[in-house]
Amino acid sequence: MSIEQTLNDQLALHLRVNDLYADYAHTLDDDRLEEWPGFFTENGIYRIVTRENRELGLPLSVIYCDGRGMMIDRITAMRTANVYEPHVYCHATSDVRVLDANNGEIRTRSNFTVLRTMTSGETSIFACGRTFETLIEEGSKLRLRERIVVLDSRRIDTLLVIPL
């Protein structure tokens, strides 16, 4: 392959990955949460962990979904059972990087900040940290086989109900 070709492929992949991150964030921020599990493969894994636990080698997650079923249950619970004050997120995703792409598996990472706005209009920095993903191609779509959200902001204000 020519250098030019390689570069084109890399660029194309980078654009696709960036689009995926943007679509993911927009889906959460637009409150289209029913579409959220669809970003994952059927057996996809979603975890929110804290940087502190991770660095201590501790396995606990703030949220742990093993498979789409658990993600759907999370959203159903949020819509029908859980009680919380209404709020919205605004994700700011940055420093998206494709780490490697081998045998159809693409590993990526990003940095993120989430601003949370309550119905009062008050906005606060709710979360910040890094995400680490494994993506695979399903049909023409990139899907998350795994997304691990690592919170630097491990001190969670009030509660966490909307996924990050």
Binding site: I48, N53, L60, G69, M70, V83, I156, L159, V161
Partner: protein, 414 residues
């Protein structure tokens, strides 16, 4: 109780018993200051940590008792020390990292050093330089160690107290409530992780919430919504004779499934069903059928067993309208990979994003925001009478909450 007070308070309890409390208790900075002295520095056992968090000589972790920063350390002799994390010199934090292992403590400001038990072992430039400066000859180093708390280890839980009057722990909470700690923490514990959650309310609102067995099925409707309420649930509320501590528990009746140690989730409604029931599975590891046990140790500890989600929660006051809740999520040494995975699944129910616990993160704040308008107005706690008696078979009672106020008033002298 504390008779000499650094603070003046003309606060008077406005009701004849503890079935009403004025909103002022959540909003008054002066009462908060008085609590520091009379409760947190008073005759109570404050939870500090677990023995497994500092297994080796030189291990330390930092925590708080009320507003006091605390170092919990294990000495070279294996004994556990609780020290105020405040240098005897100018008062800097001696440990500013959350945990570590050291041979001695060094305050980096002017390099004074302390033993793991808090004795002052070294003063930099003690003899001055070139015969000038330094300490006076009559400076007695032995008088300038870190302030120490009395420590008691109950099972694997470490407690500290500033007071000489605090009775032994078993006496403090009573035999009946000790039995639940013994029941849950039957094997060597290991920490599976920590959660930190900031609650926008006075610490007492969360302390009360844990004792409020009345709200559980009303506020947290996850189980009902998904039809995972199990029939034939028994249980009740136990309260220490003085009212300060409690245990609220649920026991289910035996069924054929117990033989395999897994719990069948029964769907009562068709409207919603869990797609994945793994987080509701229950391995009967404690030798009984208790599904939920929430226990409080006055003032700030909660011991939790929810199915196989074991935890201790430490309530840390952070000013009169802010509280940090530290969840230490536990498993047992010797858990196999399958058991650990089960605990990780069940832990979706608890913590700051817990499907049956997140509501407790916000309700306190709603009270706090409404309380400020009229601090003399009162919250009422009429469910189950006005006393602090235990309740067998029903959790529709506010007796344990009244018990909390009974304890608070006794210590505050109001």
């Amino acid at each position: 109780m504390a008779q000499t007070s650094a603070h003046n308070s003309d606060f008077v309890w406005p009701h004849k018993d503890s079935s009403r409390a004025p909103f002022q208790v959540y909003t008054d900075p002066q009462l908060y200051a008085l609590e520091q002295e009379r409760i947190f520095r008073g005759p109570v056992w404050n939870f500090l940590g677990l023995t497994c968090e500092i297994p080796n000589p030189g291990d330390y972790k930092t925590t708080f008792v009320g507003d006091s920063p605390i170092i919990l350390s294990r000495g070279a002799d294996g004994a556990i020390n609780a020290l105020v994390n405040r240098c005897a010199h100018k008062g800097a934090l001696v440990c500013y990292k959350p945990r570590g292992n050291v041979s001695e403590f060094t305050c980096v400001y002017h390099n004074w050093t302390y033993s793991l038990a808090g004795d002052l072992t070294g003063v930099a430039f003690k003899k001055g330089v070139g015969g000038k400066g330094g300490l006076d000859a009559d400076f007695d180093q032995s008088e300038h160690g870190l302030e120490r708390l009395r420590v008691e280890v109950y099972g694997q839980l470490v407690f500290g107290t500033f007071s000489n009057e605090t009775p032994p722990f078993a006496q403090f909470i009573g035999e009946e409530l000790c039995a639940n700690i013994d029941r849950v923490f039957v094997k060597p514990l290991k920490v599976l992780g920590y959660h930190s959650q900031v609650l926008p309310n006075n610490w007492k609102l969360y302390a009360e919430n844990n004792k409020d067995s009345y709200h559980a099925s009303l506020l947290h409707v996850f189980h009902n919504t998904f039809g995972v309420v199990r029939p034939n649930m028994g249980g009740g509320v136990k309260i220490s004779p003085n009212g300060w501590h409690h245990l609220s528990y649920t026991v289910r009746n035996s069924d054929a499934n117990d033989a395999v140690g897994a719990e069948k989730v029964r769907s009562l409604k068709d409207s919603y069903k869990l797609n994945d029931v793994r987080m509701m599975e229950h391995a009967l590891e404690l030798g009984d059928l208790t599904t939920n046990a929430i226990q409080t140790v006055f003032p700030t500890l909660v011991v939790q067993q929810i199915l196989n989600a074991l935890a201790v929660r430490q309530i840390l006051p952070k000013g009169h309208e802010r509280t940090e809740l530290i969840w230490t999520i536990l498993g047992f040494e010797g858990d196999d990979a399958q058991m650990q995975e089960l605990r990780m699944q069940v832990n979706n129910l608890v913590g700051p994003a817990g499907l049956i616990s997140m509501e407790d993160g916000c309700v306190g704040g709603w009270v706090q925001r409404a309380a400020g308008a009229d601090p003399r107005a009162m919250t009422i706690m009429p469910m189950g009478g006005s006393g602090i008696e235990a309740s067998e078979g029903s959790r529709v009672t506010e007796a344990a909450v009244r018990g909390f106020w009974t304890g608070w008033r006794a210590l505050m002298g109001v």
